[in-house]
Symmetry: C2
């Protein structure tokens, strides 16, 4: 059923279906332009809730929306499942792993991936949290560690199995630590017969002097207090210097220390998508130290008015002098801005530069607690947590009517249950390193 | 936190956490016995709804319940994540891949797996539907086929990509065909720009003369009518003789035919778990042609009063002369029966033989339609569908308070949406066999 095509229409290609790309596409819905959204995956992922999948509270389907479904009512938009490998800016052409595509205007919104600060070999031992597969791998490791501990007679090894180290005290690390604390001390409390999950040690390691370093200091202090109440061992001013199997070596100001932990989770660093380098090579665009593309006040690349870079991949420093943070609200506003500029240019107008309107930042620390920084107002506790819930639900509903997540949360809240505690994968039962020929607890004596 | 143990207590080991094993365990909760439930997975899977995961309607977490959570309130029950490799009936010992366990009474409930009738090489091309991973693989293949079709310019190849063959017209095949029909003709209707998913061909192949062969003939006829209304091509009296890449060869009474389809789904045969053979070798128990263990009127193995075999692995033929079907209600009742026998024996009583109380059979064929056989009453249509919904919800709620599934269903019903349409896996974007260097649709002309 070939669709009739108007070949005179302006062609917009958007690379990446995250918050930036998806909001750009929605704002271009029914515009006088042909729009293609390219993504490696067939769904938009609500990344801010990925830590809930990693700790068994939500299923991947709860926080994902099929891109085709979200955009189906805009007949001028097509979705393409594909992988971009290069961009030919001279011929205005996207090179895919299996094809090419012409653009008149390009919006690049490919975001970031994990960054191990030059220690890529740590990735295997300390998985990050960017994709659905990452989250399922974390969930798998966390749950398998408890399973192995239940069967481990050696107290030292058992302690290592019940020790969880989270590297990185930004919002993801703080939220993950809080959720893990509640999993161990709440949900799993009566699940085992030989171990008490509440005795788990959860260590949150942060290099600078406070958690949530991008928040105001008083909220960082509140967050730390709340984490400690949940039994999290918070170690600030502490750098990871080595990770070997189940040993993490850290350095504080005055000494070096080692932790033995079977489960190490990485929420420390991000690096820009390689598409940033491609753009630099092809257009001479400048990158910052993290590989992000320095953009003009209208989010385009210098000398390339028809190439926008938005979201986590962009370094926008024309407001208050410092770069905007890599958050969902920034990406969404930039996506909408780029779409508006394209529409206005098509109407012959002269668009204004981008301005980020900061509506505040929120981070949640377990049940009933969050910190909120609304600029003019900072607060924490139950009320901040409620606001956090409602903001997240609002976005989820906007995308795909995920009312279901609200019910799931309400249910988890009242029952303290987390129903998605599945160990899945190709190799469903490798007991980390299986203890040799051990007689299971029930049989002996 | 070692738990105090009473070593004089009777030791019951249950192998398998499906319907049979889990119901046995629950009925032994707080009994004067020490109970261990062993399963390879850490969760119970509500298999009758697995086809909903395969077609993007539900997430795996929606139909799974962590075994430890379900059984946590019974302090005499421990759950063991482990793989049974052998049973030493002389020493009353279970041999695990990494340990051993002593039993006084054993309940074997390890069920069945796929069976390709001597053509194991078909498994790669035509995946079955027994595990969460199976369902995700089906979902992945189905969704990738549409993605590839959207980009395929050759009409013949496009048709093969949009052809889905389901081998086996039992309840799973019928339900899968119905859900696939609704996915293609409803949910995905407006998702694509170059193809019309409603033009997909869905072929259901059944070897005998009607679908749902274990149901009364009039209900089979109703089911077939409903499937045809959904646009399913129903081929009865048709045997698959060969599967090669994307070509399925079938034989009807009078001729041979070939279908070209990229997606082939297998719901045809099951074979008994290998534990059946282990039991036969160790105890001399007899197996039927499908490898199921012939059990006594009290579900034990001849000469081994302390070994029960229940659920799909058991062949119980002491009622009406023919074996009971491999359904969830049979497994649940047998699990409860085995538990009751153990309790009564401990009290010195003499238990009665097992009787299956048939409360009816139900199969659903898409939105609003099901067939129900309650023995004294047979009916179909919307009312049967409602009953089906309520029965399934009731069981889900019983296990893990999965009220959420009810909301999810209600939502899917009213919006015709299926939110869990994720393509996940290690290799998120292999375009089946990637078409060489094809210019994507938007770019050309």
């Amino acid at each position: 059923m070939p669709v009739e095509r108007n070949n005179d229409l302006h062609r917009v290609v958007i690379i990446g279906g995250g918050f930036g790309g998806l909001y750009a596409a929605k704002k271009l819905g029914n515009a006088p332009a042909r729009v293609a959204l390219i993504d490696k995956r067939n769904f938009h992922l609500f990344q801010p809730l990925l830590y809930q999948v990693a700790t068994g509270g939500l299923s991947p389907g709860d926080i994902s929306s099929p891109l085709r479904g979200v955009l189906q009512r805009y007949k001028n938009i097509s979705v393409l499942n594909g992988e971009v490998v290069d961009i030919n800016t001279d011929q205005r052409k996207i090179i895919l792993s299996d094809g090419e595509m012409i653009y008149d205007t390009l919006i690049v919104a490919t975001g970031t991936s994990h960054h191990y600060f030059g220690h890529d070999e740590w990735a295997q031992m300390a998985p990050g949290l960017k994709t659905v597969e990452d989250a399922l791998e974390m969930r798998r490791r966390i749950l398998l560690a408890f399973e192995a501990a239940e069967r481990e007679p050696d107290p030292g090894k058992r302690h290592a199995l019940m020790t969880f180290i989270i590297v990185g005290g930004g919002p993801t690390g703080v939220e993950l630590a809080g959720a893990l604390g509640e999993l161990a001390r709440g949900t799993l409390k009566n699940n085992f017969r030989n171990i008490n999950p509440a005795e788990s040690e959860i260590i949150l390691i942060e290099g600078v002097d406070r958690v949530l370093p991008t928040y105001p200091p008083d909220l960082s202090a509140k967050a730390e207090t709340k984490l400690k109440k949940l039994g999290i061992n918070v170690r600030t001013n502490t750098m990871v210097t080595d990770i070997q199997n189940d040993t993490v070596t850290v350095r504080s100001s005055d000494h070096t220390e080692q932790f033995h932990a079977r489960t190490i989770l990485w929420t420390a660093g991000v690096k820009a998508s390689f598409i940033g380098e491609v753009l630099a090579r092809r257009t001479g665009a400048k990158l910052d130290l993290g590989g992000k593309v320095l953009v003009e006040p209208d989010l385009t690349i210098p000398g390339h008015q028809n190439i926008f870079v938005i979201g986590d991949l962009a370094n926008f420093s024309h407001q208050d002098g410092k770069p905007l943070p890599g958050t969902a609200p920034v990406a969404m506003q930039q996506g909408e801005y780029a779409a508006r500029v394209i529409r206005e240019r098509l109407e012959g107008k002269n668009p204004l530069p981008f301005r980020y309107r900061n509506k505040g930042n929120l981070a949640v620390i377990g049940r009933n607690a969050a910190v909120a920084d609304l600029g003019f107002l900072r607060f924490y506790g139950f009320f901040a947590w409620l606001i956090w819930i409602f903001i997240h639900i609002r976005y989820l509903i906007e995308f795909d009517n995920k009312v279901i997540v609200l019910f799931q949360w309400a249910w988890n809240y009242f029952t303290r249950n987390r129903g998605a505690r599945l160990i899945t994968g190709n190799d469903p039962f490798p007991l980390v390193e299986v203890q040799e020929k051990k007689v299971a607890t029930l049989g002996k004596k």
